[in-house]
Symmetry: C2
Subunit: 202 residues, 2 copies
């Protein structure tokens, strides 16, 4: 088909661009370097993406969609509330504590807010927004099942999310700490689940 060469190039560009953005930051990533890393030449870049910002947005959407899918497996609704919450907390803390790509893309989006608000908006939508919407749905399910008692599932969902960042996300965001060990992430997850259940368990 006609689109195949173009589609393939596009995928290669996205993969290469993600590596360069994560490694160098937004400003540090020159379009020349992105082209080199993607094994492509500069006019080709501009054939696929209007400008550097558009390319960046595409990278964020691509990366976050993959990440989110890995956190909420389809069989989560079969588990008990307590088990499911601990499982989700484990995966959230692992992402907050150990994923370098999401971390750096997040930095770029936040830092680029003024010059480039749609980057932030894209990150917010495909990250925290859809993430907490998924948790919100689950909490409502557990309330219907009588496992939880919760007046405001949306707020509770966001509380769980924030509790999973404790001591790991901010220090990484500010560069004070590097990758967090699996053990420590697991511990934060257990503590997050404990605090959450202390408040909302039936």
């Amino acid at each position: 088909m006609n689109a195949s060469r173009k589609t393939k190039k596009r995928a290669e560009i996205l993969a290469g661009a993600q590596r360069v953005f994560v490694r160098e930051g937004f400003d540090g990533a020159s379009m020349d370097e992105v082209a080199r890393e993607a094994g492509v030449v500069k006019p080709t870049l501009y054939n696929h993406f209007r400008d550097k910002n558009s390319l960046y947005i595409a990278v964020v959407e691509y990366a976050l969609t993959k990440t989110r899918a890995a956190i909420f497996p389809p069989d989560i609704r079969d588990m008990s509330a307590a088990d499911a919450i601990e499982k989700i907390a484990k995966r959230l803390t692992a992402m907050f504590g150990r994923d370098d790509d999401v971390l750096e893309l997040c930095r770029i989006c936040i830092g680029g807010y003024q010059r480039f608000p749609s980057g932030s908006a894209t990150f917010m939508l495909h990250g925290p927004q859809r993430g907490s919407a998924e948790i919100n749905d689950l909490i409502q399910l557990w309330c219907e099942r009588g496992e939880l008692v919760c007046e405001d599932p949306h707020l509770a969902a966001q509380q769980l999310g924030e509790l999973c960042k404790v001591g790991i996300w901010d220090p990484r965001l500010y560069g004070e700490r590097g990758k967090i060990s699996e053990e420590e992430c697991g511990h934060i997850a257990v503590e997050a689940a404990a605090t959450f259940m202390a408040r909302y368990s039936a």
Copy 2:
């Protein structure tokens, strides 16, 4: 004395620079504009600060030190744990939800991490780090008084901090929401305190 003119100019530069950085972001703030806003000429800027980065660090330190002092009043130790926690939660949520300067300085630090790690480090130290250290001290005090039961005060302190961001800090950081109403901030504070006390109240 000799330092008086220089000291005064330095303060004017800091105030002007803060306004420009907050209004325009780091890259958007040209040194020409900072000079203009501070009522000073460019070589004077470079007489006081080695470069743009140094100036920025000085602004962050100045702004955060003021903010932190406003959150923890000296008489907080006289209050009951429950009252003090709600009071602190109120002030934290007000900062997270309504302070534009801290918000934008934070964005700049996070976004500038790669090119300029000491900005992030300065923010982390004078913001979250010292902030949670203050809460940590208070929690230990309340444990000694028998008002709280808590194995890990440091973790608990960070949990309280995160709970006060729920639904307000991230949306502002990503530009999804503007300034949050006092009512809503107050509500988040109450919920944060409730979840915290559900877990740690004696």
